[in-house]
Amino acid sequence: MHYLYLKAGLILGPSLGILEKEKTMLFPYGSQDTLATIASLGYMLFVFENGVKMDFSMITRTGKQGWIIAIVGLLFPLVIGYSSVETISKLANQGSLDELHSTVVILMTQNMTSFAVIASVLNDLQILNSELGRLALSSALVGDTLSNILVVASAALDTRKVNARGINLVLLFAVIIIIFFVYRPSMFLVIEHTPEGQEVKDIYINVIIGVLFVLGWSSMLFNIEFILLPFLYGLATPDGPPLGSSLVKRIHTFGLEFLTPIFITTCAMKMNYSLVEFRSPMFIGTVLMILMAHLLKIISYAAPSLYFKLSLKDAVSLALLLDCKGVVEVAMYSSALDKRVTKKFTLQTSFTNSDSLLDFFISSSARTTQSRESKWLLS
């Protein structure tokens, strides 16, 4: 069997055995590029909107608890994972070190804490305004910012892209500094000049959205993830009325409700189930690795929460909440697949598969714990 895919990534790709049977009438070869491109645009809007919604004053309200839980939960698994990355990779790949980079990708992705995912889970559970919800949100905020910094650093210091690495790095940091020290104060000026109770003028909104696309484009120029600069840009945009709320209002329906589900579906369609051998040591090794990563993450979130005198049940629910994986991780796997960071793409897709199932179990267990708790609180 031959598996053909374009560089942009075939959406309905490998497991359909494209070029073999005439069963892809709805997804003919070549049509996937259009869908994937437009859906990625939706993902960019999604990430930007989440950046806008993030509110840094939330951290100061919960105090240093959020900081410490997030830092321990992020760094502890990272240190353990990276110090044993070669051993893990050998175990999962039958003694060869060929797949070292894909192991690193999995560890990195497992280790991410994403604000967008956790905020949406909290929103689903309707505990955004509870004590635990606020703590989880602020830890997620710190964790997300830190893991993004790590991603920027690791992308910039990637040894495989030696040429023009320095200039990329310098330009990237120049852009980030401009975003935070020129753009952000000027947005506060805009807010000051807006009369009380009115919305910001349309021209500002249009300029912001225009710059958003420019930043997505320039992320690709700097050879980093195309969502990274849009995310930082959203972070620098002041949230709440009058500016942030009216931005969110305009982007939300099209980006978040319409294009993002399509993006997730296109990512998930890259999975290849037909090539997964459930009994191969590689598969078992990777599944064990993922389980271990989750366990480590939960423990390292629960331990500092226990230290802060949270009850065991609260600590475990907080850890489960912060361990949730979602859109962002799916997108990360998918882009790693497209960039051929991972050679064994069939296996990599099975990671996404098992991972998302696991995430479901975790989020559902978090849900049951939470609902039981909220029932207790109500009664």
């Binding site: 895919y5 003919p28 070869y29 070549g30 049509s31 889970v121």
Partner: protein, 97 residues
């Protein structure tokens, strides 16, 4: 080789076990809008060979399946991302059968 494609022809180069590169032959200007179902241009301008109608069809398919799946799954307490991931299973099963 029977294949549904938007390209004029596809040539395989560099075929290995897991990956293959292929050179595709594009007709310019590409068919973006179609000539309609009853157009006079053979298969070239048919809706299923033009990028805009096929894109819209895919969007409609994914959107409706997501929303249909989301409704019962939400009642059962599944998060939204779960139904979005399940859509790919459903579509694959439907297309493959």
């Amino acid at each position: 080789m029977e294949v549904d494609t938007l390209f004029a022809s596809i040539n395989q180069i560099n075929v290995s076990d897991h990956t293959a590169k292929c050179g595709v032959c594009l007709k310019t200007p590409p068919n973006i809008a179609s000539d309609g179902l009853w157009g006079n241009h053979g298969t070239e301008g048919s809706p299923l060979k033009s990028s805009m109608p096929i894109f819209l069809l895919q969007v409609i398919l994914i959107y409706t399946v997501t929303r249909t799946l989301n409704y019962p799954l939400k009642k059962l307490g599944f998060p939204a991302i779960f139904s979005q991931l399940m859509v790919s299973f459903v579509i694959k099963i439907v297309i493959e059968s």
